[in-house]
């Protein structure tokens, strides 16, 4: 059934006990109480945490002192549980466009199975139809603001498609009184003229730049094996100097993890990003065969924290996609958030990964297709609902983890959350440590944060903590 604006039946998730969203972690000899849905974080002595746990278990609001104040707040404050989207498609997260799956780089760890050269490029008529369809959705929903995100491969391998979409979408949106933001994820390997155009026309650029030259050139060479640092750094500086918001994204490997502070220093001195995103390499057979190993998660968390301190002094945010504390959410990626991602062949999917990748995992993320003749996006209601519920599904691995409302289980395609609770892998370990560090630093407990990350016993104790729920576990 195509989207007609009628409400499709949806399965409502069971309302959990709100106390299950109140967590307590061992943090270097004290207890970190974290309740993101209640807007509360606190550090207290272990004995106090025990009293708090007891108060919550018994719904006791009469406990004296600060513990009682916190207990009352937690018992009386409604937990704002993030909900799956529902109802007709009225506010897509963004229009995603994959103008080509081709790429001009040969990144050593890239598992992207698309051919590096050739492959279809999006037809301009299809591009126009996708834009028109998206704008009509916004206009019908009364939205005056939208976004178009470009993915790949490398989107600027099809520069005419990108340029057409940007210019046409801006003009058409203007006709409708809609303002569009343009964002692209790019490797930055293009001319300075192109970089200047990108800086002028885009709102946000996510630029992949893994580290100093010796890192970037090894991890992300060009297709002809030539080094890329000088060109990509030039792009980064042009973007820094222009109006576009720059986000630097660095993939961290075992070989590069110890360079994060040095890299952060270079970035803060040479560039003007709003954000630096460090992502730990996800290891696979092909990455190992190429000589790239993921970093030790404990080391990654330590170096991440050091780099974050350096960048923070310059007003630059440091994020890891699964440790973003700005929102509580059920999905850390576009899946489940009504993003409409159009591939060169006109398919509309919920995810920008290749169809083969998600089908191999038994997932169906196809939402519909672009109708070129009608200049519309034909989205199946059932498909939309299916991806929404995918994001909202129960994730056993995450059931007792204090990160679940930020991490949301990570990538729906590549991170298997259908495992026993607390069977944490390296991604989970890094996420847990970095999240705890961020919470502690927000509380200005720098010494506790440092101790938690640098003391191996404290770090392991937090990372492997079996059940973070305050009411369910014994306080350490």
């Amino acid at each position: 059934m195509r989207s007609t604006g009628t409400r499709a039946a949806s399965k409502m998730p069971a309302v959990p006990d709100a106390r299950d969203s109140i967590f307590c972690l061992p943090a270097g000899g004290v207890s970190l109480v974290y309740a993101p849905l209640h807007g509360l974080a606190a550090v207290m002595r272990n004995a106090a945490a025990e009293r708090l746990a007891a108060a919550l278990r018994e719904n006791d609001r009469l406990v004296p002192g600060p513990v009682g104040t916190i207990a009352t707040h937690l018992l009386d404050t409604a937990a704002e549980m993030p909900q799956a989207r529902s109802g007709p498609l009225s506010e897509p997260l963004f229009l995603g466009v994959v103008p080509t799956r081709g790429c001009n780089m040969a990144c050593g760890y890239c598992d992207f199975a698309a051919p590096k050269s050739g492959g279809p490029t999006m037809d301009l008529h299809l591009a126009r139809a996708a834009v028109e369809g998206y704008l009509m959705l916004l206009d019908r929903g009364g939205r005056r603001h939208g976004a178009v995100h470009f993915f790949g491969g490398e989107p600027f391998r099809a520069p005419d498609v990108v340029e057409f979409i940007v210019e046409f979408a801006a003009q058409r949106a203007g006709d409708l009184g809609i303002v569009l933001d343009f964002e692209a994820s790019t490797n930055g390997l293009f001319s300075s003229a192109r970089a200047e155009w990108v800086a002028d026309r885009f709102s946000t650029i996510v630029l992949s730049l893994d580290g100093p030259a010796r890192v970037q050139d090894r991890q992300r060479p060009a297709l002809n094996d030539r080094p890329t640092f000088s060109v990509v750094a030039r792009t980064a500086k042009i973007l820094s100097d222009g109006p576009a918001e720059l986000i630097v994204r660095s993939c961290v490997t075992a070989a590069s993890v110890d360079l994060l502070p040095e890299w952060a220093t270079w970035i803060s001195r040479e560039l003007r990003p709003s954000t630096v995103c460090f992502e730990s390499l996800t290891g696979s057979a092909s990455t190992v065969a190429a000589g790239f190993l993921p970093p030790d998660p404990y080391r990654f968390a330590q170096q991440f924290a050091q780099a974050a301190l350096i960048l923070d002094r310059h007003g630059i945010a440091t994020v890891q996609s699964t440790s973003d504390l700005r929102d509580c959410r059920i999905s850390a990626c576009p899946v489940g958030q009504d993003a409409l991602i159009v591939s060169p062949d006109g398919a509309v999917d919920a995810c920008y990964l290749l169809e083969k990748e998600w089908r191999d995992q038994g997932l169906d993320l196809r939402l519909g297709l672009v109708n070129v003749a009608a200049r519309s996006l034909e989205i199946e209601d059932e498909a939309l609902e299916r991806t929404r519920q995918l994001a909202a599904r129960h994730k056993p691995l995450c059931a007792s983890c204090f990160c679940q409302y930020h991490c949301a289980g990570g990538c729906h395609v590549h991170h298997d959350t259908n495992r026993p609770a607390a069977a944490y892998d390296d991604m989970c370990v890094a996420t847990r440590l970095i999240t705890a560090d961020k919470v502690l630093r927000r509380l200005r407990l720098t010494a506790v944060a440092d101790r938690t990350l640098t003391d191996p016993v404290a770090a392991r104790s937090l990372a492997r903590h079996a059940d973070d729920r305050l009411i369910a576990s014994e306080v350490p």
């Binding site: 303002v179 002028d200 100097d241 109006p243 918001e245 003007r272 002094r313 310059h314 007003g315 630059i316």
Partner: protein
Amino acid sequence: MANLIVSTVCPMRCSFCFAGEQRAKTGRGSAAYLSLEEFDRRLAFLDRSGIGEVRLIGGEPTLHPLFPELIGRARGRRIVVFTNGLIPERALACLESLPESECTVLVNMNATRRPDGPGAAETRHRSAVVHRLGGRAKLGFTIFRVDFDLDPLFELVTESGAQRGIRLGLAQPILGGGNEYLHPKQYPAVGRRIVDFAKRGAPAGISLELDCGFVPCMFSDADIEILSSAGTDLGWRCNPVLDVGLDGTVSHCFPLAGSVDTRLTSDLGAAELRSRLAASTHPYRLAGIYRRCSRCPLKQRGECTGGCLAATMRRFRHRTIRVAVQQERDQHAARE
């Protein structure tokens, strides 16, 4: 108002300095100091302009060999001196002799010879000068990086009896130049720090004054409330004071010196000169420092000018574009 450049000499090498055009002229063989005769002509200009304030800038104005004489000729008007704070003794003594009610010495607290910021010796010297000037001193700070620190200024104000308003300026780009400046993308991060400092200074009775180029969107609504409560002088201005150079060149402002200039004449006043300069820059005012400025309701209502004009003009592109287009078919020829 008008700033009178009396010296183009300055030993500082501040990375953010936007007086480069003036210093460059000295390097090209022009005089480094304003003559007394020319200074008298400047004072006449101020008189016919109805300006009762003499604002001395540079380079470093206190390095003028006849600085006390300049001050003597300026007496009877309010005197403002912009200085890097490393003032020679003779000039300092002259300023100390002025009543506090007639004189303000704006001390740039981050001026330095050093590439990595003021050294201990510079800081000590400047601090000693501020102590001697007391209530005549107003501390100024140019923000050119996000990680700036005002705490030492708060301490100095408290200890020295300097004026309790600290003037903050944003380092702006020289049009066509290469000085270090704060990019508008960094304004929100700077805005958050300013709010933190405003909150810290308020209990000590120290307030912040925002010079030209600040924009309301660099602060959240809540932050603007906090700044107002802390006594911050908020102004979303780009109406800079005229800068009158040694050679009689009148610039819109330092960042636009060499790009938007006119000449001092013997008959026109500041208002007329301002009009001339505004006429050549007015079209650029349709834009602002951000892409969204031209559709911003605050700008359209005149509540914000759109930020620094130099930063705005810097956004404009220029290339020689040549496009060859085949002419339309000749209808007679087609029919033939």
